[in-house]
Amino acid sequence: MDNIPQAFAISRYEIFKRRFKVFGLMLISTLLATLKWITVLPTDVAWFTKAVLIVLFILTFAWISLFFWSSWFGFWSLLRKKHVPGIVWPSKEAPLQSRTALLMPVYNESTAGVMANLLAIAKDLERTGKEEYFDIFILSDTTNPKIWLDEECLWMQAKKIISPKINLYYRRRAKNTARKSGNIEDFCNKWGASYKFMIILDADSLMSGETLVQMVRLMEANPQTGIIQAPPMMINAHSLFARIQQFAGRVYGPIVSAGLAYWQLGDSNYWGHNAIIRVKAFIDCCGLPVLPGKAPFGGHILSHDFVEAALIRRGGWAAWLLPELKGSYEECPPTMIDFAARDRRWCQGNLQHIKVLLSKHLHHVSRIHFTIGIMSYLSSPIWLCFLLVGLAIALGREFFPPIYFTETRTLFPMWPVFDKIGTIALFALSLFMLIFPKFLGLIIYKINNPKSQGALKSTLTEIVISALIAPIMMMFQSKFVLEIISGKSVSWNTQNRGGDGTSWREAWNRHFWHMTLGIATTIIVFRYAPELFWWMLPITLGLMLSIPISVWSSRISVGQKALKRHYFQIPEEVQLPEIAVMAHEYEQKLECVLPDAKGVMLLLNAPGIFALHSFMLNVNGPAPAVSKDIQDEAQIKLENFVNHGVEPDFSREEEIFLLYRPDIIQRAAMLPLLSRHHAAGAEAPQQ
């Protein structure tokens, strides 16, 4: 199906031309490099090994080549300062006509942080004077009873602060079927029909009021558009690792986004948050099926965003990535280990797309999105295989020396030929294609931020550090891919967004095998294939130093020292965006009003929150089924507390059971208020 929506103000020829340029150049450069690669392969290697090396080379080179050419065209788009063609840009004064829901799906997140972000967004919306067109929904999938109560408590506080023109709603699901995608689907089924558009946020998302209003205007001016994605910019990073990611995102991110927008046009992707979606299109096209088979490949779709974009596109709606939209922010995992933990979830989600990739009627660009997502993770084991095969060939020579004179008598000996200069040339070309786009990004960054300090030295340092980190991430991702292929699924954990840093013990546990592998490879290469020593050093060095790199880069103090010397400094660190300042202020305020008592204990002490909690229970859906033993144990613990002061150690199930039983809580809360409570005897009648 190639149903290009009518609203595209761009010809099919122009679309074809752009894609032909990017993919044509990618194919030509991969073809030329592969031809060269075939000539530099050692002549004494078996044909099967040669075939493997050629396939692995094509896959890795095509990957970096696509990145290179996409960035190249992104660079030129940004340099010419042209809008993405094909979408109608409305005037900034155009009146709004539609109601939009801002959705904040949460799952055991830091409550004060989430509410603070929402309040900051609401405050910024107020400044646009268009706040009455927006409602905010907190869609909680929280399973931790203490956080659940915190959410209700801070929701109540936030309602007192927020503009009365903005409705701030809170709904918690008792059963979080299909995780985030199920959460959004539940919203669409219950309230979606009341809104024309919805803007999906993440717990760490911040979006300026102007951007939100502009996104709604764009949707109204482009009635065939289903999704508009605003590329989020990372802010609020403190540890060195997060600051490096933040700097890379700020400097190289724009050309990557512009490059993707250049060839994707109205067939773009959706990244799960900081995007506006037409509710009708979503309801009609995006009911996600449960994939056949067991997890990790079957079951509920984890990385739902790519699939939703593909389905909405299949339904004839356009999806746009618009790098022109600023004021869209997110945060980065603070440490390498947190980053890898997030990668584990994303890896499974993307590999699951193998089942969707060949689905009927998808647009071919949607298939490319899936392939890019899958390759983001498969590229690591492919690179690893490539290294291992190369190493095996070198070691093979050591243990099985070349045979110069075969049994068949010939006039000339069989000299193994190795084109060293050709290999170096290919290596240099690959490095160039990886690194050059970073300098293109730097040029755009310097043009837009002429007063920025330390950008060049930061870029050079980032290249070195990312080269050291790359082999560690390669090992992580290769392990994830292997785990997933062997059927090991991932559980749903909350993403760590704080900056506590990695301890030496944790780093040792996580990176021990990286370090061991690095040391072992270095020794083997040095002893048996010394000609490869310097070639392998950039990889083995990163692995050998993985523990100190992980610990050192997770430190906030190191990140702040670097900031003092203008390393990895971005303009948003010199002057924090106003919306982020507001969010910080709100967070501090909300943390002060957050009660010390948590969960059931909070309800016993705060009748107002208890009444509110009881009132809100109905919207949560029916209480989850709990065994009789858990029910009894929970009540015994509660009774022991109110009657004898024994501090209760409720399990999660026990506490959740009690939170669904306001009748029990109310009686327990009343007990200390009975005038003869302490004198009550065991024989007394029971109520």
């Binding site: 219950k190 099926p289 029971q686």
Partner: protein
């Protein structure tokens, strides 16, 4: 159920009211007035809650809520409005005064708007090739058997 060891209905009514921030004196006074209507009930706490429903329904007339929700909302708004001190006498009144009703309505916090139901149909994700492969497989099997 948590056991409430009691000696009298007065005790329970007072505790109920004190939990809603009524003073001891106020609680005893009100307990004396409603004791008759709840004392014989099997579940006194539930019976007191039921007493609140008519005025809660009158105050929040436009809202479609269950009795449990109405009682909870009524208590929440009453607490938020500083009810025990300002409106203590009105708590069980069958016909609430307009000022009291207005004060409570001001405190309403809606956690979700009314439903506008839709249905997201599950989309089909069918592999392009599966059917084709199946046909080939059966064809191959068929010819072998035949």
């Amino acid at each position: 159920m948590v056991a409430i060891n009691i000696q009298s209905a007065d005790d329970i009514i007072s505790a109920y009211l004190k939990y809603l921030k009524f003073s001891d004196k106020q609680a005893r006074k009100i307990a004396a007035t409603i004791k008759e209507s709840v004392a014989e009930q099997h579940d006194i706490v539930q019976a007191i809650d039921n007493l609140l429903i008519p005025q809660a329904r009158a105050i929040f007339s436009g809202m479609y809520l269950t009795d449990e929700q109405l009682a909870a909302l009524y208590k929440f708004c009453f607490l938020q409005a500083g009810g025990a001190k300002k409106w203590g006498g009105d708590f069980f009144k069958q016909e609430p005064s307009p000022a009291f009703a207005e004060a409570l309505r001001k405190e309403v916090m809606l956690n979700a708007p009314g439903y506008q139901m839709s249905h997201m149909r599950q989309q089909k994700i069918e592999p392009v090739l599966r059917h084709h492969f199946k046909l080939k497989f059966w064809h191959f099997k068929g010819s072998k058997n035949g």
